[in-house]
Amino acid sequence: MSRRESDPRDDELHAFLRRAVDRRGFLQRTALGAGGLVLGNSLLAACVGKEGAKAGAADSAAATASSAGKTLRISNWPLYIDKQTVADFEKATGIKTEYTEDINDNAEFFAKIDEPLKRNQSIDRDIVVLTDWMAGRMIQLGYVAPLDDSKFPNKANLVDSVKDVSFDPGRKYTVPWLSGMTGIGYNPKKTGRELTSINDIFDPKFKGQVTMLTEMRDTIGLVMLGLGKDPTTATKADVEAAAAKIKKARQGGQIRKFTGNDYAEDLAAGNIAIAFAWSGDIQGLAADNPDLRWIAPKEGAMLYSDNMMIPKTSDRQDLAMAWINYVYDPKHSAQIVAGAPYLSAAKGTGAELAKIAPELASSQLVNPPDELRARLHVFRALSDAEDTEFNRIFQDAIGA
């Protein structure tokens, strides 16, 4: 394969990603802490968590025994892949693949898979894709099977900056799928003007025509930025201030809905004018709605990363490894990014993308310019107790 080892565009991006990940300063905690407070029934969860960690390692060895002829089952977020890659993968490897876009919200998805994984039961999925903070929780609870590096030669393509993340040192359990930014998606036809600020979402002119995300870190983070606060150092008072602003807007009818990926439908259907939106989604809608636009507001945008991992109860881990290895080929990675314009963590993706979609290769969505990078923020890593507390405040604000 002929790929240029060091595209300058790539290096820049990688240095940037490292900065983002370093900021997280993830709190190291035992499995005991991880399940406990969030679950409520702490003892049970913690015990199972610890056992789970041991069982996970044992299972993964046995699991690869025979998965020939079985179907690989992948769960990912909507609008997060191109239309060709799954079919190409099936053709190249002969592995039948069931790619499902059924993750709409980290916490909600976790609640679905938590019980079976705790009991060491299958969740009928071989790869799931979850955001950093949730990936950390999954690993600590012992729910994730280690990646088999012998089946992952393309791991060499993993950009240096994300090789050592605090929630998964050495990337033993997870590798990034894609990274993205949370900013504002809007329909200029409905807003009647260009938007630049987060606080445009609170403009009374757009009453009942805006949506925010159910992901606490995204929504609170953006509103904090609008208030001139930095989510990288979020305090309880900051979260309360942002939540109060959201609650007031919600009660006044400003906010039409709190959504997961489903804001895309409302934006496309013309039900809403403005949404807190993930950077690559709008491109996915552009085929039918060329007017829609995504911006990183002047106050800043949020940065996050979603990671592939293999649930410990998967009995097809070699198939999963084949997929992970496949998508870390920069050619394939570029094809995915061409369909879902997010930031890839595979070296050489930029160069490959320049060949197949030159205009996109220089887009801020897949390669943010310095000026934009400086405005991106990662929500501070939270302890479980903080996570529960902030979530309570947030749920009250969104009226659920």
């Binding site: 407070l37 029934n41 309570r392 009226g399």
Partner: protein, 281 residues
Amino acid sequence: MAGTAAGGSRRSRLAPYLLVAPGILWLLVFFVAPIITLAQTSVAVPDGPWWNGFQRALGNYGTHFFRSFRYALGATLIALALGYPLAYVIAFRAGKFKNLLLGLVVLPFFTTFLVRTFAWKTILNDGGPAVWLLQQVHLLGAGGRLLDTTVAVVGGLTYNFLPFMILPIYVSLEKIDRRLVEAAEDLYSTPIGAFRKVVLPLSLPGVFAGSLLTFIPAAGDFINAQLLGSPNQQMIGTVIQNQFLEVRDYPLAASLSFVLMAIITIGVLAYARVLGTEELA
């Protein structure tokens, strides 16, 4: 051991128990056991007294409870207003179309609840036919909308539970002895009088059953509020779902479920007393 005759009578004594055994077993496994688990969850508060969940459930979610019962009541009344005349027509006037009409009432069940509610999202879209029509007749202002409003949520609840209203009313109307109506007319009752004095009282058990079958699931529903409502229309079911799935505050979620069950039980008992149906006593 006793002879065969004694064995036979023992068998007949046992028969009723054997007949109810599967039902009892089912209830034990799928009703009693979950209720016990739920009760345990509701008091397993990690960082406070056991009643902490109940305290918060009763203290902080009054709006949601009140809203849920209001919406459920609204949906039940609309369903009754729509369902009773329809059931009446099917029972008394439909003739050879009776089975066809009954089939149409049941037809929506052939697709799932969730898909049908999603379909309403499309129908009620801001740019959709329903909004356009209402704007043409000036029932809705230029900037008005249907989706994510109270109208959409109550409408969705009514739509989803309407068959549960129609079918019991139909059954109770259907079994009314026609000769009673004829007798009333023979005794110089007007048609309206005959309906009011004969048909309506005899159909009340159906109305009672239908309104319970509509009201109870509607009060606990979370899909309609979530898909068709804005954050200001969220019902208690949505809150419970959120506390279970998003916040994972299990004691609060379980406490909320118990409070909901308690209120509904009390309401149903009061309603049963008012309507005085012996069938359920």
